[in-house]
């Protein structure tokens, strides 16, 4: 009898976020980012979200009944299959709701809605504790490394070993972003390739003295209590992607909208999920990031003129932690069905450790490149934070949400703006991508593979292992040639080229790429056999070279033009 009670208590202790008492905290100063005040604002934010969602259903009994029915049935189905401690608690309450729903009158239904929305919001709402932030500033990245490898912690703390520092290069208008963060609300929208993205971003923001940001992290990432403590107290809110209920999505959107309205800098991955193919995202739904447009309109309608700045960014990795799983998933065409992958490399500590160990041996293995900020209506922003029209004159962003001279909230209009913004951000991604050395070497090798197997289709080709190779001297020559062209493209503003590619000779680029792959990936990507380099894993080559797909034809030599065209066609199957 006692055991289940105990384990249930333990479960609650571990699954609920731990927070330090608010009254012990320091008072934030006026120039601190809004997030420093979150500790005190959490309760009003939660009740505002609840009020707004419930308000949406006032006077619409049909919609109210529908949304409750949908939520209850979706949740009963999900929780019944989940079948754990957390589920059994909630399952009973939803089942009771399903039974009573038909007999309830409208007021009771609204009350039930309020209760459910409150539960959801409480579950989502994150926290930010300046004390934890201060601690993290001093200890990160040691702490992050320690979370992933607790045994190494003492010696790393003693030696002041900061492996992440030389690893991540930051590019782009950082000074400008720092200034804009003072006057407006930043909505950072980077590409997404790895579960390490949010950690790397959090670290870079700290290092570059950019403000911390709130972001939604998958609930599965919160299962580690220590990581959960930090994520919770560093402004992460919880997104449970297993929940299908329409109501949950509405609560989530309302929450993120409310945070931007209140001036919290926010981070979203508009691609929605990690790019399975390694291609730079071309179509963005924006999803939660789109609430930045609504938040701007709502603020304007209330007379709050604080601007919202969207900041596209690309995260470029020489090595990707989950590359093997992601590309396999992509080739299976299973990207849709496995929207949530829970068994990839990032859930295995040994793989994460091997990855970090490998990374520390590489120079600038990650490049984070910020693009130029834009307003919610795709206009560029000048140094003073003003929106700039095509004529070069400033344009008032408020004019875009005005109708007959009055700022209004109009979901249909804002959906249009959001769609265009998604297209504009995707275009910036294409331009702001940073090509790294592993990607270029992978491209040349993969092009050789396509060139040597003209009779095979994509899937046939992916099975050709250890049969196709090219003389190392030829590989180096083609890498050198392609590198020079990439530098030309960079000068034309079509893309960017990472530090290693800019500075090293071709033979060293090839050597670095081969050694980068050999230390981390479980299967060899390519190996040296005498004078030749043999292709061992076409899947990983495909993954790494996919960033170059848009440029394949322009990089081709006359002999490889046909192969390049085949590669360029891969861009169609995002």
């Amino acid at each position: 009898m006692l055991a289940p009670v105990m384990s249930s208590m333990m479960f609650r202790l571990l699954s609920r976020p731990l927070r330090l008492p608010a009254f012990l905290g320091p008072t934030p100063s006026p120039q601190d980012p809004q997030i420093f005040r979150f500790h005190g604002e959490r309760a009003p934010i939660v009740s505002d979200v609840v009020r707004r969602v419930v308000q949406h259903y006032v006077g619409q009994p049909q919609k109210l009944l529908h949304v409750l029915n949908d939520a209850a049935n979706a949740e009963v189905r999900r929780l019944a299959s989940q079948d754990d401690m957390e589920a059994s608690d909630a399952l009973g309450s939803w089942k009771r709701l399903v039974r009573r729903l038909g007999k309830m009158d409208e007021d009771e239904r609204r009350e039930a809605l309020r209760e459910k929305v409150r539960d959801m919001t409480e579950d989502i709402a994150g926290n930010f504790d300046p004390r934890v932030y201060g601690l993290a500033t001093r200890l990160v990245p040691n702490v992050l490394t320690a979370i992933m490898n607790p045994r190494a912690m003492p010696q790393q703390l003693l030696s002041g070993f900061r492996p992440l520092d030389g690893l991540i290069t930051t590019e782009g208008p950082v000074d400008k972003l720092r200034r804009l963060a003072q006057t407006g609300t930043l909505v950072l929208v980077p590409t997404h390739s790895s579960n390490l993205d949010s950690i790397a971003l959090g670290y870079v923001l700290m290092r570059e003295r950019l403000p911390p940001m709130v972001y939604g992290a998958g609930k599965n990432l919160f299962s580690n209590p220590l990581l959960s403590f930090f994520m919770h107290n560093l402004g992460a809110y919880r997104v449970d992607r297993r929940i299908n209920a329409q109501l949950y999505k509405e609560v989530l959107k309302t929450y993120s909208c409310m945070m931007i309205e209140r001036g919290y800098h926010s981070l979203f991955f508009p691609g929605g999920t990690r790019a399975r193919s390694g291609l730079v995202e071309r179509r963005l739904k924006l999803g939660l990031a789109g609430t930045g447009v609504e938040a701007f309109a709502r603020n304007q309608a209330r007379g709050i003129t604080r601007p919202v700045y969207f900041v596209p960014a690309t995260l470029n990795y020489a090595l990707v932690l989950e590359a093997e799983t992601l590309i396999e998933d992509h080739l299976k065409g299973a990207g849709q069905s496995r929207y949530i992958i829970e068994d990839d490399e990032s859930s295995r500590l040994d793989r994460v450790y091997a990855f970090l160990t490998k990374l520390t041996q590489l120079r600038s293995a990650m490049v984070l490149r910020f693009g130029e900020p834009m307003d919610p209506f795709c206009n560029p922003i000048d140094d003073e934070g003003r929106s700039i029209a095509p004529s070069g004159n400033p344009v008032d962003p408020a004019s875009y949400v005005k109708y007959h001279g009055i700022a209004t909230v109009d979901p249909a209009r804002d959906a249009g703006y959001t769609r265009e913004l998604g297209e504009a951000i995707a275009r910036v991604y294409q331009r702001e991508v940073v090509i790294l050395w592993t990607q270029l070497v992978a491209h040349i090798l993969y092009r050789q593979l396509v060139h040597a197997t003209p009779e095979l289709d994509l899937f046939g080709r992916q099975r050709v292992r250890g049969q196709v190779g090219m003389p190392r001297a030829q590989l180096e020559a083609e890498v050198g040639q392609a590198r020079d062209r990439l530098l030309d493209f960079a000068a034309q503003g079509r893309l960017h080229v990472g530090p290693v590619l800019r500075t090293m000779p071709a033979d060293q680029i090839v050597a670095e790429a081969l050694s980068a792959w050999s230390g981390y990936h479980t299967k060899p990507v390519a190996r040296t056999a005498g004078e030749d380099v043999m292709i061992e894993d076409p899947n990983l080559l495909l993954f790494y070279q996919n960033r170059l797909v848009p440029f394949a034809e322009d990089l081709a030599t006359p002999e490889t033009a046909v192969a390049a065209r085949t590669i360029a066609a891969l861009g169609g199957r995002v």
């Binding site: 029209a389 095509p390 875009y400 005005k402 265009e420």
Partner: protein, 165 residues
């Protein structure tokens, strides 16, 4: 500066048969019109005022572009200096212009700060627009469902829209 609401003026760029057709349709709907043309071929009417400069058109909230597609980029750029996000732009021209093969809606989006951009499509017959016909061969036939009804792309329906915007 911009007069808004029901009294807002409607602007027309271009004094060809389409520009005048749109202006007359708006006049019939009881709206004040500002028409700009490089070479105005007609006199204004009590409700249709000839604008002496493109800049004046910014006083309207809804702006029609009825000019040949090759000149649209330059005119859009010139007028765009005076516009902002509150303006609605509607063009009636067809074509793909420039080295980047832009559609005319894309031209309006890239040359002006405006994002509320649309096009009038359908069987466009300038004369029908001007005299309130239906744009079909049997123009005198009454429209089904009164001024709000009408077939999609019907100019009379467009005129009714002008009234209700």
């Amino acid at each position: 500066m911009t007069t808004t609401g029901k009294n807002a003026k409607i602007a027309v760029v271009g004094g060809g048969s389409f520009g005048w057709g749109l202006a007359l349709a708006a006049e019939r709907a009881g709206r004040e019109v500002l028409l700009w043309s490089r070479r105005p071929q007609r006199e204004g009417t009590p409700k249709i005022h000839l604008a002496s400069s493109l800049a004046e058109l910014a006083r309207a909230e809804l702006v029609f572009f009825a000019v040949p597609s090759p000149v649209m980029p330059a005119l859009a750029r010139e007028l765009g200096v005076h516009l902002d996000g509150a303006h609605y732009l509607v063009h009636v021209s067809r074509g793909i212009v420039g080295d980047e093969l832009q559609t005319l809606s894309q031209v309006l989006r890239t040359c002006t700060p405006c994002r509320r951009v649309g096009a009038l499509a359908g069987p466009l017959v300038a004369q029908a627009l001007a005299d309130g016909g239906t744009g079909r061969s049997d123009r005198r036939q009454p429209l089904p469902g009164g001024p709000h009804g009408g077939a999609p792309g019907d100019r009379r329906a467009a005129a009714a829209d002008l009234q209700h915007r």
